[in-house]
């Protein structure tokens, strides 16, 4: 069945308006979602047909003796169906979340604040410098609060756009400075809250170059609706060029 949904994905998906799917884990997630939606729709139709037919039918005068057959058999079938869906979902969840990113994953820190996202790259030393709340000053070009006295900070740079290479795993470190924000990239089938006081990691692999929406999906204040940003996925080579340019300006 999975195979059917993946190979006929476009046809089957056409009535469900999911946005472009541009992440490595996306097609499996979409297949599970569409499978669920179709099963739900079929059960919806079946239940309504049963109610309508049951109402239209001539009255039966015999007592429904076979309670086991009428109640427990469909119930057992439904329980097996739910167990099947749950098992598949758990397997996908395990793949996505139980283990961390590979050691070669690109590291980016995502910082949420009312009402903007900032993305910090660690630079050539591959290590984030220390950030201090006291140093946070978006107006002075230091929205993340990077401490310049830390040697690791020297090559860190901050971007208002999340730029990633296609085909390479990325390890995002989510952090919030003020309230809970929801980091969501619909086209990457990705969502994870950024919680103040916590660093939360999430990893995924973008596959198709393009510009995608980044939204805040946890009510964070009056500007919640405009706390959006752009994810730009570039081909590997173009990404290297972008990275070099920004590393230089950042290390200036």
């Amino acid at each position: 069945m999975t195979h059917f949904f993946q190979s006929h994905g476009f046809l089957v998906a056409s009535i469900w308006p999911l946005p472009t799917d541009a992440a490595a884990h996306g097609p499996a997630l979409d297949a599970q979602l569409l499978l669920n939606l179709w099963i739900g729709l079929a059960l919806l139709a079946l239940a309504h047909i049963l109610v309508i037919v049951g109402l239209a039918k001539r009255r039966t005068h015999t007592p429904p003796r076979r309670q086991a057959l009428i109640e427990f058999l469909p119930l057992a079938a439904l329980a097996i169906l739910f167990a099947f869906l749950a098992t598949r979902a758990e397997a996908l969840w395990e793949t996505a979340r139980y283990t961390g990113p590979s050691r070669s994953a690109l590291q980016v820190e995502v910082v949420g604040m009312q009402f903007a996202w900032y993305f910090r790259y660690p630079g050539p030393d591959a290590t984030f410098g220390v950030a201090k709340p006291e140093l946070v000053a978006p107006g002075e070009g230091n929205p993340v609060g990077i401490d310049p006295t830390d040697p690791h900070s020297a090559d860190d740079f901050v971007s208002s756009q999340l730029v990633l290479p296609a085909g390479r795993e990325v390890d995002l470190r989510l952090h919030s400075q003020d309230v809970i924000h929801g980091f969501s990239v619909p086209q990457m089938r990705l969502k994870q809250n950024a919680v103040p006081g916590q660093d939360i990691h999430i990893h995924f692999t973008p596959t198709i170059p393009g510009d995608y929406a980044i939204l805040c999906t946890q009510l964070c204040g009056l500007g919640h609706y405009r706390m959006t940003a752009t994810l730009r996925v570039l081909p590997e080579a173009a990404f290297e060029v972008w990275l070099t340019q920004h590393s230089k300006s950042g290390a200036r």
Binding site: P64, L78, A79, A86, W93, Q114, I180, L190, K191, L222
Partner: protein
């Protein structure tokens, strides 16, 4: 006050909240579809005002409509008669609960008029947004009023629950054994049972949040925060996730509290008009209690992407999926009860069937949202809004209409006009679906909740959000029609209440105790009610029935 008067008083409170809550939702819908539309006498709706509408709408509907009306309103009105009692266990406690709820409603309704306006953090009030006054307009005094209001509400609910539980346990009449209780009573019983631990935990959480706001504690606040450019330190390194745990430990059972009384009533009304027993009656008792029991163990599915351990996500996925099994058992019983019954399609029966339809439609998206990997896409989108508005809000409201049409002869000694009732039903269910089904579609397209505006945003985010605009307008028009579809109901009330009292004492050939001739008698000399049989004792052909109050020797003939 007598419990009957109190029942009316509770319903009046809910009706006021329902009218206000509906108006607020229409303003939200109008603003979403036509963001530049100026509200007459006010001007354009600002983002913080939109979030104020969100907060008040959720608070009014969830607490003051869907908790008070089905549980304390109809519970106080009907429950004592249904168990053959002429009183409730603690009338003063019940009165006190009502006055606390009135104060609670007044406080939350006053909050938009204080400096800064009403709270903007939604009915879930996640900290630090709800804990730090500078995090937004309305998070100062408005938030304090919200806290005070909901704290009073929690206290009142615990009091009313103690009254209801004690009434059910201690005041059942002779012969009203547990297995003879109508499923309505089981619904009220389970909901009251759930409301005790859940509202007690909510009250505790509200007190902790109050301490964080005013007494410099740090239950929900991490060591440092930078809000609005100002660094704040908390003495303890607390966590906002603690609030999410406590809130949803309350919040998830709360949605079952809202819908369980309706589920019980639907079972009884379907059986009444199908003129047969509730299919698998004893199993349904078990199922209701089971739904309540599992309902306490599923709160984590609101937190799949909140920062829990992924293993916790897996565990909560299993408990949440498990609840689909007893819920399916309910639906199967409803289908089997009406199957081949040639049921009388009165307005009450139609609303019961409408409840079943909405429960199925809203319920089937439940298992989808119980899968953490899918929640990673669907969390906080309009898909979720569609889900809970169908299964909780719409099914809950259908339960209230069902109760009103069905019990009106007992409430007002008159029967509501069937013709107007049917017009009301068909318009309501059509526009309910027309409003909430398309929200699944906008949610799948990626529309997040709580967005004050979907237009005027640049970049790919703007493209994604504005792609839903044609459907937004459709939804708004449907929501307006849904509100207008309630006019026949109010006309019906007006016409019926002006007509002379006429109703036969048991117009639906019902079998439960509240329809006994002296069930609502205030005469202390009236004979004490006695229960003789289980509910819904109809003959196989449905021609005759045996009400619960009738001694076993003489079967009653229908009128």
């Amino acid at each position: 006050m007598k419990h009957r008067t109190l029942g009316f008083a509770y319903l009046a409170l809910s009706t006021a909240a329902l009218l206000a809550g509906t108006t607020l939702s229409l303003l939200m819908r109008l603003h979403l579809a036509w963001p530049d539309w100026p509200l007459p006498l006010h001007g354009p709706i600002l983002p913080e005002e939109y979030l104020g509408l969100v907060t008040l709408h959720g608070t009014l509907m969830l607490f003051f409509v869907l908790t008070i009306a089905p549980l304390w309103g109809f519970g106080s009105l009907i429950l004592p008669a249904q168990i053959g009692s002429r009183r409730m266990a603690f009338p003063k406690l019940n009165s006190a609960a009502f006055w606390l709820l009135t104060a609670s409603l007044l406080i939350v309704c006053a909050s938009p008029f204080v400096p800064g306006g009403t709270a903007i953090s939604g009915w879930t009030a996640y900290p630090p947004l709800s804990a730090v006054a500078s995090a937004g307009p309305g998070q100062g005094l408005g938030m304090d009023l919200w806290l005070a209001s909901i704290a009073l509400f929690s206290l009142a609910t615990c009091m009313a629950a103690v009254n209801m539980l004690t009434t059910i346990v201690c005041l059942r009449c002779d012969g009203m054994a547990w297995h003879r209780l109508p499923l309505t009573v089981w619904g009220w019983f389970t909901a009251s049972l759930l409301s005790l631990p859940s509202f007690a935990v909510l009250l505790a959480a509200l007190v902790l949040l109050f301490c964080d706001r005013h007494l410099h504690t740090g239950f929900f606040l991490p060591a440092t925060l930078v809000v609005n450019g100002i660094v704040t330190h908390s003495p303890a390194d607390g966590s906002p996730l603690l609030w999410l745990h406590l809130f949803w430990f309350f919040g998830h059972p709360e949605v079952y509290i809202a819908v369980l009384p309706g589920m019980g009533l639907v079972s009884m009304v379907l059986a009444n008009f199908a003129r047969r027993r509730v299919f698998a009656y004893r199993l349904m008792i078990a199922v209701m209690v089971l739904i309540g029991g599992i309902g306490i163990l599923v709160w984590g599915h609101h937190m799949f992407v909140a920062g829990l351990s992924p293993f916790a996500g897996s565990a909560f996925a299993i408990s949440s999926m498990a609840i689909a099994v007893p819920a399916s058992a309910e639906v199967l019983s409803w289908i089997a009860t009406v199957w081949g019954s040639r049921a009388r399609l009165t307005t009450s029966m139609l609303f019961a069937l409408g409840f079943v339809s909405l429960f199925i439609t809203g319920g089937l998206t439940g298992p989808i949202l119980a899968q953490p990997i899918l929640d990673q896409y669907l969390h906080n989108t309009f898909f979720v809004v569609a889900h809970f508005h169908l299964i909780m809000a719409m099914a809950g409201v259908f339960g209230l209409y069902l109760a009103t049409y069905y019990w009106f002869p007992l409430i007002a000694s008159r029967t509501l006009n069937e013709r107007l009732g049917k017009i009301h039903f068909w318009l309501t269910i059509f526009f309910a679906y027309s409003t909430f089904l398309p929200m699944h579609i906008t949610g799948l397209a990626g529309e997040p909740r709580h967005y004050a505006q979907l237009t005027g945003i640049i970049g790919p985010s703007g493209t994604l959000l504005s792609s839903t605009m044609p459907l937004q307008r459709h939804i708004t028009v449907s929501a307006l029609c849904l509100a207008l579809a309630q006019i026949p109901f109010f006309i019906n009330l007006w016409i019926t209440l002006r007509s002379p009292a006429t109703s036969a004492s048991n117009p639906w050939d019902a079998t439960t105790m509240e329809w006994a001739p002296n069930a609502f008698s205030e005469d202390p000399a009236a004979p004490e009610p006695t229960t003789h049989v289980a509910p819904c004792e109809y003959s196989l052909d449905g021609e005759t029935f045996h009400p619960q109050w009738q001694p076993v020797t003489q079967p009653n003939q229908p009128e």
